[in-house]
């Protein structure tokens, strides 16, 4: 029984089928990529799964629970976290705060505990602080802990976003173009980071990426989208040899 199962997902924006007939499975510990030319509908698929849009057709099932009609916060509580194509950090919070605010959001914070700063409040805040620092250390961001998130270098901002997503203890992580705007050295580091995250945190990772090098090296399986429809699914070697994929990216031979 796969962890995430999507059948026949589709959405229509004013007559245009941004996505149609999309099928997908993901298991815990797998690293799968979603590729396709620009405008193929990849981020739309992510937004559908994460609850930002409501699908017009199809089912999304996470660990036996249907995610239909849930809002993004509820989907996150169910175990799915995502990062964004344009980095969306909390600019006015510190790096550590960005991570702490993501911890423990499925539990309700009592208003009274907040107001009377009793021992319970301090215990909890120390615990959060420690867990936050631990997570930052794991992703090698701890030296920035008290800096404002907006002041970080670009590559570190992406890592912070991933750290924040991981802080919600997800079982599935959706990464939307994590390597965008990075130079080759940073991309290599990112590759290792993604593998490390999969092994250390035991999450299933679903990746949207344009850098073919990166994708071919780390993914176990690749799905190709074009104009909202699935072109091919398979291992990296199979996809590289697939004529339809080549045509979608490079055009048909003259």
């Amino acid at each position: 029984m796969p962890l995430l199962e999507i059948t026949n997902l589709g959405i229509c924006f004013g007559g245009l089928h941004a996505l149609a007939g999309f099928n997908f499975v993901l298991d815990s510990g797998e690293l799968v990529a979603l590729i396709g030319p620009n405008g193929a509908g990849k981020t739309t698929a992510f937004n559908l799964v994460a609850g930002i849009y409501a699908p017009d057709a199809g089912r999304i099932v996470l660990d036996g629970r249907s995610l239909a009609g849930l809002d993004p916060a509820a989907i996150n509580h169910a175990g799915l976290a995502r990062t964004f194509q344009n980095i969306r950090l909390f600019q006015n919070l510190t790096v550590l705060d960005n991570v702490i605010v993501a911890l423990n959001n499925s539990a309700e914070h009592g208003l009274l505990t907040t107001l009377l700063r009793g021992p319970r409040f301090h215990r909890e805040s120390r615990k959060s602080h420690a867990r936050g620092m631990e997570l930052l250390a794991t992703l090698r961001l701890d030296q920035y802990a008290s800096r404002l998130a907006g002041g970080l270098p670009y590559g570190d901002q992406r890592r912070l976003e991933i750290a924040r997503a991981l802080a919600t203890s997800p079982r599935i992580l959706l990464l939307d173009e994590p390597a965008a705007g990075m130079n080759p050295r940073e991309k290599v580091e990112l590759m290792e980071l993604i593998r490390f995250i999969r092994d250390r945190f035991k999450v299933g990772i679903w990746l949207i990426e344009h850098d073919m090098n990166l994708v071919m090296k780390i993914s176990q399986r690749i799905t190709v989208l074009d104009h909202g429809e699935m072109l091919a699914v398979g291992s990296p070697d199979e996809i590289q040899a697939n004529p339809k994929v080549i045509e979608a990216y490079l055009g048909a031979p003259a």
Partner: protein, 373 residues
């Protein structure tokens, strides 16, 4: 027709209210268009716009009834006027050398204004005899005054805050509005002043047409005609001229228009001047209808015109006009037909506001700009 209205007095009353509403709506439209244009270009709600409308009316009063006592005009005035002339010369020379000199022009304007407003003793004189020529000249004077004021406000208060978060510009707009209102109260006096007759023979023959119980007043027709004329002129400017095209470009995408070679500062100033001219006209027109003019007359109509702009879709000029007429008619109908309606008259605008914001925030003609995730 007369038989129709005599037989159905309720119908006559309804049409009467409709005409009142249309004329009220025309005035709201003149103000609302200014709001919507400035919002479209700068994404700023110009709270001071209602006060520009007030200044238009005040200019009319001054033009009609106040005379400068040149004998009392002092040395200070002469000095200030001379200074402002010098500054203008300096600005012209800078321009000739190809350098920026707008701030010099504004300083010259300010000096001249301080001279004329502060150091010339204005005395209540003989009001001009009403005539069509007077009307046109007073209207022209009000347009000039409000246009200049709009330009100065934009330059001094809003342009330095162009790159700031919008809340700062909003607060500054509120500051400008307060300045105009309280300054107006100090300078013009807080008591309402009577606006003299502009149109010849209005008191003796106030009605244009009379269909039995239905009366169509001249004033309302005039207001409607002038307002519609200005709307058409505006439409021509916005749709059919190059400046208008640049204006539309800037209101779509500020940065891209700048990259495409549009002088954004000039276009923003132009927008402000255009909106202010319309507001000033509205001030004169409303003063002809209800002749009491006081320095805080701009507050409530300004808010209501703003609601009208939101109703029509803020950022859209036809929307503002449509919203204004709708609001005017609704307000008059509520005041006329509801029990205790005249007390709730001012609340109508806000109820409509809440309704629009809850049901369709982008208004009747506005578009929903959603965020890309």
């Amino acid at each position: 027709m007369i038989h129709l209205f005599t037989q159905f007095p309720h119908l006559a009353e309804f049409v009467q209210q409709l005409i009142n509403g249309l004329s009220l709506g025309a005035i709201y439209a003149l103000i609302a268009v200014g709001y919507t244009m400035v919002y479209g270009v700068l994404r700023l709600i110009n709270f001071a716009h209602g006060d520009i409308y007030m200044i238009g009316a005040m200019t009319g009063i001054y033009a009609m009834t106040q005379r400068p006592d040149w004998s009392g005009a002092g040395l200070s005035m002469v000095i200030l006027l001379a200074l402002s002339g010098l500054v203008l010369l300096g600005a012209a020379s800078q321009r000739w050398r190809g350098r920026k000199c707008e701030y010099l022009v504004v300083i010259a304007l300010l000096l001249a204004e301080v001279a004329v407003l502060g150091f010339v003793p204005w005395r209540h004189g003989e009001p001009c005899p009403p005539s069509w020529l007077t009307f046109v000249m007073v209207l022209g004077g009000a347009m000039l005054a409000s246009g200049l004021l709009g330009y100065q406000i934009e330059f001094i208060a809003y342009r330095p805050l162009r790159n700031q978060p919008r809340i700062n510009a909003l607060i500054t707009a509120i500051g400008v509005s307060m300045f105009l209102e309280f300054g107006g109260q100090r300078y013009f006096g807080a008591t309402p002043q009577a606006f003299p007759q502009l149109i010849p023979g209005l008191e003796q023959h106030p009605d244009l047409f009379k269909f039995g119980p239905l009366v169509i007043p001249k004033v309302d027709t005039l207001i409607l005609c002038v307002a519609l004329l200005m709307m058409f002129a505006l439409r021509h400017i916005v749709m059919k001229t190059r400046v208008g095209m640049a204006l539309r470009a800037v209101s779509h995408r500020f940065d891209t228009a700048a990259l495409m070679g549009v002088d954004v500062n000039r276009i923003v100033s132009f927008t402000f001047v255009l909106g202010s001219i319309l507001a000033g006209t509205g001030g004169i027109l409303v003063a002809m209808r209800s002749p009491k003019v006081d320095p805080i007359m701009g507050l409530l109509p300004g808010l209501k015109a703003f609601v009208a702009a939101v109703l029509g879709g803020i950022g859209s000029i036809p929307g503002a006009v449509a919203g204004a007429f709708l609001l005017g008619i609704t307000e008059v109908m509520v005041a006329g037909y509801f029990p205790h309606g005249s007390q709730y008259r001012d609340g109508v605008a806000f109820v409509i506001l809440i309704g629009v914001l809850l049901v369709k925030p982008s208004g009747l003609f506005g578009s929903n700009a959603s965020e890309k995730v």
